[in-house]
Symmetry: C2
Subunit: 234 residues, 2 copies
């Protein structure tokens, strides 16, 4: 089991942007902050506060001021497709990802990794409703809850971030260490009903959720195509 006293410092950067879904990163943060000698930095452009559905995250690190990291983690959210087109943000993602031992994401954060050029020809997970948006970037869509391809580790939608984080923690600190943290966080999930995936949800529930997301689909695909065009011409 890894010894927190002697483990080398492990810098984990969580890159935030407007419109992020907070559970995409608060779940992994709660797990990874307990990695041996971890320095977990939640960061944004200029260290600006990030509001996520009513919760305001303040005193963030400035992405540009972080020299390097061991793990880059990009969460998802409805703002992910706008973030893909924010050149200042994407420059930091490319720079930090280029230095990282692990390039990681949760949910639609994989679209940002793809737009940065990290997923070309690589398998990646994504929120089930938005997986198709990976294709313009030449990424290989995975339906796994946690997907691994080399040093790329990606989780599925929102709550998949917790499963993702335990996979990553086991990789960083060993399975025994990760299991101790799991017990401490009492991670023995017991959803009161089934149906958290499109394959298992009742058809009428699936139709309801698809109808809610539908109006966003056209703009998001257009944004993904534009980001893919920029990547190819870079």
């Amino acid at each position: 089991m890894a010894d927190p006293e002697t483990a080398p410092e492990l810098v984990i950067v969580i890159a935030l942007y407007p419109g992020v879904t907070h559970l995409d990163f608060t779940g992994p943060h709660q797990v990874l902050v307990r990695a041996p000698n971890a320095k977990v930095l939640a960061a944004s452009l200029d260290g600006q506060d990030i509001e996520a559905e009513g919760l305001v995250f303040a005193r963030l690190a400035d992405l540009a001021a972080i020299p390097r990291c061991d793990v880059l983690l990009v969460p998802g959210g409805f703002g992910a497709t706008d973030a893909m087109l924010d050149e200042a943000f994407m420059a930091q993602i490319r720079r930090l990802g280029g230095s990282a031992r692990y390039i990681t994401s949760v949910c639609t954060g994989s679209l940002i990794l793809a737009a940065a050029g990290f997923l070309t020809g690589r398998r990646a997970a994504c929120h089930w409703a938005w997986r198709e948006l990976l294709k313009p970037f030449g990424a290989i869509v995975s339906e796994a809850r946690v997907e691994r391809d080399g040093n790329i580790l990606t989780g599925g939608g929102v709550t998949a971030g917790i499963d993702f984080a335990f996979v990553l923690l086991a990789e960083l600190a060993g399975e025994a260490y990760a299991r101790a943290i799991q017990l401490g966080l009492e991670y023995a999930p017991a959803p009161p009903f089934e149906g958290g995936r499109p394959e298992t949800a009742p058809p009428e529930i699936l139709a309801t959720v698809q109808a809610r997301m539908g109006p966003l689909a056209e703009k998001r695909m257009a944004d993904a195509r534009e980001a893919a065009r920029r990547l190819q011409s870079a």
Copy 2:
């Protein structure tokens, strides 16, 4: 299915304090913020910022300025036993809980509900390592992941908050509505290994976690006894 357009406003107050564990409330927040016409207020004494293991939650509501709520949610954390002895905080918990349709907690948040007098003779869940601290208050310890006793709904440790939130959302908005949110948040958990409960963890892992928590046990029990004494003499 509940219609967000016509549903009456639902005020959900999440009461924060120093030393809270953030996933205890960020998990439920992400679920409950999508309840029909929900107004979810993360609040603290004087609206002070709350730092939780490196994440800083800002622009919080002032507990004392919230006239009433439909749901009071108290998360847990290593600061929970100190919070039990903070009279200004506890006065707000008693006042808001007294007006609420549902009095709820996650993890060691139930100790705070107990210290406020809401759990006397009631069944309540808690983080597995700290359940015994409910007893000085005359609460009945439950080992359930989500426990219900009348209008008291309590979740177990940390990640149990997500299961708790879906139980509560189904109660507030109907199961079909809750299942649509579940699908949207892709809540089909798949831990990479088992052992998130003391009954299922390998003995050596359980011993490791108990050894880490051991040094806190004496002070926390003393705090619980003091809070119980105050409750009885109130």
